[in-house]
Amino acid sequence: MPSSWVGTPVLRREDDRLLRGHGRFVDDMHAAGMLHAAVFRSPVAHARITSLDVSAALALPGVHAIFTAADLGDVNRPFPLPVPHPKLRAKTPVPLASDTVRYVGEPIALIVADDRYIAEDAFDHIAIDFEPLVATPSLEGALAGGDCVIHPDLGDNVAARFGQSYGDVEAAFAAADVIVRESFTSDRGSGQPIETRAIFAVPDVNTGVITVWDTTQSPHVARRLMAATLDLPEDQIHVIAPDVGGGFGPKVVFYPEEVIVPFAARALQRPIKYVEDRLEHFRATVHEREQVHECELAAKSDGTLLGMRVRIVHDTGAYVPWGVIVPFITLTTIPGPYHLPNYDAEVTVVYTNRVPVTPHRGAGRPQAVFSMERMLDRLANELHLDQAEIRRRNYIGADEFPYDVGLIFRDGSPMSYDSGDYPQAQQTALERIGYDAFPAYQAELRAQGRFVGIGMAGYVEGTGLGPHESARLRVDSAGKIRIMSGAASQGQGHETTLAQVAADALGMPMEDISVRTGDTAGVPYGIGAFASRLGALASSAVKIGATQLRERILQAAGAFLEVSPDDLEIVDGSVRVAGSPSQSIRLGDLAVQSSGAFPGSTLPNDLVEIGLETTAYFRPTQSTYASGFHVVTVEVDPVGGIVTILKYVIAHDCGNAINPLIVEGQVQGGLAAGIGGALYERTVYDDMGQLISGSFVDYLLPTSAEVPAAEIHHIHAPTPLNPLGAKGAGEGGTIPAPAAIVAAVENALWPDGSFHLHAFPLTPELVWQAARDAQAPA
C-alpha cells in the first residue's frame, strides 16, 4: 500500500469488465416488453412543413405508435435555456418540429416499433410535404441575411452580440511600433464519441416512476430538464448514465430524444429504447468550432505586446441549446499566458441552417489559441525575432500569481490565474524537442528536397467550472465505503481516482472503497462531466466528504466505546483504541448500530449524528487555470498534401495529478482529438445545407497511424483553490494542437515566413492547395 494513493499510477478498476466485454452501455440494457424507436428527421435544411400524414406508416405491421409534434401537446415547447446570457436572443430547440424545420436532421416524428428495422421501414411510408425556404448554411450568408431569416421574429440571424475589454486599446495601437493584422477561420468539427447517443426509458407501472438510462454527461441536469419539459416532479424521474462510450462535450447537451422517448414510454407504458446511428449523430448531435476571427495585434519593436483587437463571428447553428459559452470562452482565452495590457474583443453569434453548436473538447479554446499563437508567429516574422523568444518576452512570470487578466470568465468570476509556470513549460518542451538544433536539421533536409518544420503553441485553460460537485459517502453494513459522485463518467476513470482520494482521506485501503457515478438516485444534486472539472471538483467533494466521514466514524465509535475519538484509529475494517486493540468495534457493526439497529432502544448520548453517511459539496470560488505548451515537428509532402508528425512534446500543468496514468491518458487522448481537429476532421455542408460529410469515410478521425505517442512532461504548480491542488487535465491535449501543427506545416513549407496559413483543419487538400498557391518548392 503506497503512503499516499493520490499521486500513484493505480491501474483502473473499470478495466476488467470492459476488457471482458462485460461493460453495460445503454444499448446493452434489456427489459421485458421493450420496443424500439427511430426518429424521422428533416431531409431539408429550411422549409415549412405543409402537410404530414403518418397513417400509412402507422398501419405497418410491427409499428406501435408514431408521435408527431401534435401528439406531444404542451410538451412540445422550446427547452429551457441551461446557460443564459443577457445579450442572447435564444431560440432553443423544441422536441419535434411542427411548423418549420431549420436543419437537416431536425426531429419531426418518433416511430415506435417491435424492432429498429421495422421502425426505419416506416420512414418510407410517412407522407410529408415541404414548402422550401431559402437555406443559409454559411456564416457569411447568415450575416448578410437577405432572403433567409431563420427565426423571423428576431428580424435577422444574429443571436447575440457581446464583448469585453480592458485597458485603452486605442491608445495602445496609437503608440505601437508595429501592428499585425490577420483573419483566421476554423471549420466545424465534432466530438464523435464511438458510442452514439442512446436513451432507454422504462416506466414502472406500479409506481409511476420512469427510469431513463441515458448516455448523458449530466444526469442531474438531464433529470431537471426532463421534469421541466414533461411536467413531472423530479422524484418521478430516475436518470442513470451507465457505462458511457465517450462524451467529449456533445453528451452534456439536452436533446429532443430525451423528452420524446420518455414521453412515448409513458404514453404506451412500455420500455422504449432509442439508439442514434452514426449518420444521425453527424446530422443531429451538436457540432462546434466554426468561427471567423479578425485580429489586430499592436506591439513595440522589441516584441512587447501592447494591445489586441479581436472580432469573432461564431456559428451557433439553427438553435441555441446550451448558451453562448463557446465564443465567450474564446474571447476570454485569447490573452493566454501573456502580458497583454490592452484588449478589446467583440463576438457576434449567428444562426445558420445547420446542426446546433455547443462545446466540444476544448470549447472555443482551440480557436482562441490558434489566433493568439499565430499572431505571435506573424509578429515574430515581422520583427525578425525567434518565435520562442517573442513568447518568452511576454510571458506572465511564475511569481506573478494570482494574476488578474481583466476579464470576467464564463462562470461569472473575474479571470484570475491562480497558479502556473509558463516560461518553465516552454523551456522544458523546447529542450526536449531539440529546438536549438532544429534549424540546421531543417536546412539539411531541405537540401535533400524534404520539408520539415516546427511549430509551437501555449495556452491557459480555465478548468473546474462551478457551481459545485457532489459526493455521498456511506459505510455499509459490511463495513465497506460506498461513494456516489454527482459527476458521471464517460471513460475518465472516476471509479479509480475517486477511490484513491477517499482512501487517503479515510486512512483506509482502496479495496474497501467502491465508487458509483451517474445515478440521480445516488446523490441529491450533481452537475456533471464537462469543463475538465472532475479532478478539480468531483475529487475535492470526495476529499471533503471522506474527511467528514472519518470524523463521523471516530465520533460514533467513541460514543459506543465510551472513549475519546482522539484515542481511536481505523485498522483492518475496525475502529479500535490505539494501543488497546481489544477495545474495538467493526465498521459494519458501527454503521448498523449508529443508524439505530434495535427499534425501541436508546442511542448513546454522545452520538452526534445518526448513521455513517455524509453528503459533501465542493463549491469553487472561481475556475482554476491549467496551462501548457506544445511543440511539434512535422514533415510535409507538398505533392500529396500529407503531413506526418515526427515528434510531439507537451509540457503541461494540471497541478497535483491524482493518478498520473490517467492524466497522461487524458493528455494523449486529447492530443488525438487535437490532431484530428488540426488535420482531418472537417464537417462539410453544401449550399443547400445538406451535410456532405456524414460518415467516417468523409469525416476522418485520426487512427493509430496518424497519432504519435507524445512525450509528456509535467509542470507542477498546484492550485491553492481546492483541497487537492488539482487542475483539469482533459482538454489541454487538444487546445493548442491546431495552432502548433499548422505553424509547423507553415514552417516546413515556408521557413522564411513568406506565406501564412490561417485556417484549420488543414486537410490534405488545403495543404496541397496552399503549397500550390504559394508556389512552394514541390
Binding site: L11, R12, E14, D15, D16, L18, L19, R20, G21, H22, G23, F25, D27, D28, H30, L60, P61, R116, Y117, I118, D121, P193, I194, E195, T196, D243, V244, G245, G246, F248, D277, R278, Q490, G491, Q492, G493, K647, L661, I662, E664, G665, Q668, G669, G670, L671, A672, A673, S695, F696, V697, L701, T703, S704, A705, V707, P708, A709, A710, E711, G733
Partner: protein, 164 residues
C-alpha cells in the same frame, strides 16, 4: 415489413448454435440483441470504426457489414470468448490494462479482436507496423499509445511506448 427467414447453424465462442433469422438482420445486431453477447459494440454501421469487429473463421470481420445468414457454417469469436469469466485476464487484455489502452472501453472489444488475430498470425511487427495493422479500428479516447504499447508487449515482449 416481413422479410425472408433462414435457418442457420454456426459456432460462437466454441458453442454450436442453430437459429432462424431474417434475411436482412445484421450479424452485429444478431450477436448483440438475439444472442445477447453485448460485448461486441456498434459504432458506425458503415464498416469504418471497427468497434464491431469479431473473428469469423479466425479473420477479423466487421459484423455490421455482414448479415446473420452469412454466419451459416462459420465459426465466430467475440470478446466474450477471449477469456472464461472466472479466469484472469488473458495477456493481451492484461496488457491493455497495464498500458491504459482503454478509457471508455467502447471501442476496446474491436481492438482486442483485431489484435488477437494479429497475434495469432505469429508475426513480429515494429511499432510502426503495429500502428498500421491496428489503424482499421478507431478510438476516440486514448490517442492509441497504450493500445500500441500493449500489442507490442504481448507480440514482442517489450513494454515501452514509442515516444522518441
Amino acid at each position: 415489413m416481413t422479410t425472408d427467414r433462414h435457418d442457420i447453424a454456426f459456432t460462437l465462442n466454441g458453442k454450436p448454435y442453430e437459429r432462424t433469422v431474417d434475411g436482412r438482420l445484421l450479424l452485429s445486431d444478431f450477436i448483440r440483441h438475439d444472442l445477447e453477447f453485448t460485448g461486441t459494440h456498434v459504432g458506425c454501421e458503415h464498416g469504418v470504426c471497427g468497434s464491431c469487429t469479431v473473428l469469423v473463421d479466425g479473420n477479423p470481420t466487421r459484423s455490421c457489414l455482414m448479415l446473420a445468414v452469412q454466419a451459416d457454417g462459420r465459426t465466430i469469436e467475440t470478446i466474450e470468448g477471449l477469456t472464461p469469466d472466472s479466469a484472469p485476464l488473458a495477456p493481451l487484455q492484461a496488457a491493455f490494462r497495464k498500458h491504459h489502452g482503454l478509457q471508455c472501453g467502447y471501442c476496446t472489444p474491436g481492438f482486442l479482436m483485431t489484435a488477437t488475430a494479429l497475434l495469432r498470425s505469429g508475426e513480429h511487427l515494429s511499432q510502426r507496423e503495429i500502428r498500421e495493422a491496428m489503424s482499421g479500428n478507431l478510438c476516440r479516447c486514448t490517442g492509441y499509445s497504450g493500445i500500441v504499447a500493449a500489442v507490442d508487449e504481448v507480440m514482442n515482449g517489450v513494454g515501452k511506448t514509442d515516444a522518441v
